[in-house]
């Protein structure tokens, strides 16, 4: 009896305060950001807890650019930046594939060889055998996809760690590249062809580039408003129009300034446009599709993904196939950039640059965390270092050392941020 007497008032107080009507705002224990100042506060809070996003890489980029500009003002000239973007696109595309495999917690060490082999294939099929260029490129990409499928098969059927499988692949594919190139060791691509023009000359017309720079902000605003309406209709909290507007405007202004500056020089390379387009497509696929969700899940906890009914083997396969295909495409772009397919293509630092770009950009080596844009940001960092050191007439020995140091710093930041996230419960 006494128990009931005690219990009754408690139950009343539990039921009484129900002023919040929004579905996701009913828990009074949680602070929620409101308005623009709230959004800023939430952002600061997130960064402090170790959820850094792309902040470290942007900070690093600012430092690198400041240092190189102070050492040689040519670095920040429009034309040097245009060249930098040309160089970014080739390895950047390879790095997009690396993001895919890192996402599922695997690695592909053979992307460099794969890109070299792809460029050799295009050279052989197109120049030596007279195939149509598009068919040669398609053949190279299909071979890439096959290689990826073999890695996936080795991993899912035979349990061979991707680290070892792709290391073996690195050597085997390098051998294939040398075999295809034969005794001469290099195949020159015709200078006046569209492919080489894409790699060296073609610029997006200024007017078009300004228009394209408007698109992200506009799309963001439109989709943001649509989502906002739907969330309000569904009785969920919704972002304010103001914060949406501020964000869209900020990104539009930023992009327009960048495009305007590049147009002071030669303009925005079409090849970089292609790279960005691929990055946007990959970002959409990773964030907004069931496949992307499954990729994240497999990278985070593959056993949980398996029990949720996800076909884990298929996800691994898709990641490896995409990675090797991107590597092949990157190889084709490299051949276009250099106007030749040679034994040097894909050797040396291409492999590590592609992997380092993804990691520097913020894709975790531990799987389950990353974005396609990390490839874009990371490769810009790496190419900035390369370009800056070239301008300073420093040897490649120093370039390797500095790139190595930057990669180490990036991984340390990733690791520290991860620890901080864990201690703040945000892993």
């Amino acid at each position: 009896m006494s128990n009931e007497m005690q219990g009754a008032p408690q139950r009343e107080t539990q039921d009484a305060p129900k002023p919040a009507t929004l579905l996701d705002r009913s828990d009074s224990r949680v602070k929620h950001a409101t308005g623009i100042s709230g959004a800023v506060g939430a952002f600061v809070e997130r960064v402090r807890s170790g959820d850094l996003g792309s902040l470290p890489v942007i900070a690093g980029l600012v430092i690198i650019w400041t240092v190189f500009t102070s050492l040689n003002p040519v670095f920040l000239s429009a034309n040097n930046l245009v060249n930098l973007l040309f160089d970014c696109s080739t390895v950047g595309v390879i790095s997009l594939g690396i993001v895919c495999v890192l996402m599922v917690g695997q690695i592909d060490l053979s992307v460099g060889s794969m890109s070299g082999f792809a460029s050799a294939m295009v050279g052989m099929l197109w120049v030596n055998h007279g195939w149509p260029v598009l068919l040669a490129i398609a053949a190279a990409i299909v071979v890439g996809a096959l290689v990826g499928a073999i890695y996936a098969l080795l991993l899912t059927r035979l349990g061979m760690p991707s680290f070892v499988a792709t290391l073996a692949g690195l050597l085997a594919i390098l051998g294939m590249q040398l075999y295809v190139l034969g005794a001469t060791g290099s195949i020159n691509l015709p200078y006046d062809s569209a492919l080489v023009n894409l790699g060296q000359l073609i610029i997006i017309p200024a007017a078009v580039s300004y228009l394209l720079a408007l698109a992200p902000g506009a799309v963001m605003m439109l989709l943001g408003m649509r989502t906002r309406e739907r969330r309000r209709a569904s009785n969920l909290s919704a972002p304010s129009v103001g914060s949406l507007l501020v964000r869209s405007l900020a990104i539009t202004v930023l992009l327009e300034i960048v495009v305007a500056y590049l147009n002071q020089g030669r303009g925005v390379p079409l090849m970089f446009g292609v790279f960005l387009g691929l990055a946007v497509a990959m970002d959409y696929a990773l964030k907004r599709t069931r496949w992307g969700r499954s990729m994240n899940a497999v990278g985070g906890n593959h056993e949980a993904a398996r029990r949720a009914g996800i076909n884990v083997s298929a996800i691994y396969t898709s990641a490896f196939v995409l990675c090797a295909s991107f590597a092949a495409l990157g190889g084709v772009l490299t051949a276009a950039r250099l106007a030749s397919a040679s034994q040097q293509a894909g050797s040396g630092d291409v492999n590590l640059n592609a992997i380092a770009a993804a990691v520097i950009g913020g894709t975790s080596l531990f799987g389950g965390r990353g974005s396609a844009y990390s490839a874009v940001l990371g490769i810009i960092v790496i190419q900035s270092i390369a370009s800056g050191l070239t301008l300073l007439n420093l040897s490649s020995s120093l370039r390797f050392m500095i790139t190595g140091a930057v990669l180490a710093i990036a991984v340390i930041v990733d690791s520290l941020a991860r620890q901080s996230r864990v201690s703040h419960g945000r892993a």
Binding site: T289, R290, A297, N301, G309
Partner: protein, 267 residues
């Protein structure tokens, strides 16, 4: 063993029935001639010592293992559960002991993992609404469904795992040691949750080592011992009877202590 139907409330329709189910791993018989009936709106507790075959039985029902012999009848039809997806499709959901959540994904993504709405353009708003609805039905206290699971407490994760199992509106939910890793308050929360799940008309199979938890929510207690049925009990049966059935001995430490207590009370 002691079936006194007068004190039992009306049972729902028969959801699952196992007849003569056996499972051998090589020379080891993990399960022998298991018989089990589960009705809608009923919580059946599966108890037994380590190695009694509880987890094997759950894995057979979840489609992870296939039985060597015997028939499984689900919803009136004889079925073969060849893989986890088949069990899920039939309406058998399992909450595994280690929960199997992806810590790097938020609550909504975890609840909908593998069954996202609109695969080519995820419908986040609709999924979030449904996630809140499910969690509210369970009176769950999750601060935000947009937080990653890593930021949730053990009890909250259990809630998410249970909410996920409810998503497809399964006829049968199996919970493997749902309270093993939880504190007092969280255990109470999860037991409440199980009652609410039962009240929604789902059949529930719960594995537990904790007799108090079992007694608190179970309508029927099925004891397994060395891979065989060893009696069916009701929450009002004594601890002594249960322990005897689980260990296979009437003479043990628990029964002696209970005997002493009884003797003291009667004096």
């Amino acid at each position: 063993m002691t079936d006194n139907p007068t004190t039992r409330s009306e049972r729902g329709e028969l959801v699952l029935s196992l007849r003569g189910v056996s499972k051998h791993f090589g020379a080891v018989s993990a399960l022998t001639d298991i018989e089990l009936d589960v009705h809608a709106g009923e919580v059946v507790a599966l108890v037994g010592d380590n190695g009694a075959g509880k987890s094997t039985l759950v894995k057979v029902l979840a489609g992870v293992h296939q039985p060597s012999t015997g028939t499984i009848t689900f919803g009136g039809k004889e079925v073969t559960l060849s893989n986890p997806a088949a069990a899920l499709d039939l309406g058998i959901a399992t909450v595994f002991q280690d929960l199997a959540l992806c810590e790097n994904l938020d609550v909504v993504a975890n609840i909908y993992l593998g069954r996202e709405m609109n695969p080519l353009r995820l419908d986040e708003v609709a999924m979030e609404v449904k996630a809140w609805t499910l969690l509210n039905e369970l009176s769950a206290r999750i601060p935000s469904v947009r937080d990653v699971v890593a930021s949730l407490s053990g009890g909250q994760r259990q809630t998410v795992a249970i909410a996920r199992s409810l998503l497809l509106d399964p006829k049968l939910i199996m919970l493997d040691e749902p309270t093993a890793a939880l504190g007092v308050a969280q255990t109470a929360e999860v037991l409440n949750l199980i009652e609410r799940v039962r009240d929604r008309g789902h059949a529930v199979i719960m594995i537990s080592h904790n007799m108090e938890d079992v007694r608190a929510v179970a309508d029927r207690i099925v004891v397994l011992r060395l891979g065989r049925n060893n009696g069916i009990f009701y929450p009002d049966s004594s601890n002594q009877e249960l322990v005897a059935a689980i260990t296979g001995a009437t003479e043990n430490a628990v029964s002696r202590r209970a005997g002493r207590r009884q003797a003291e009370q009667s004096v």
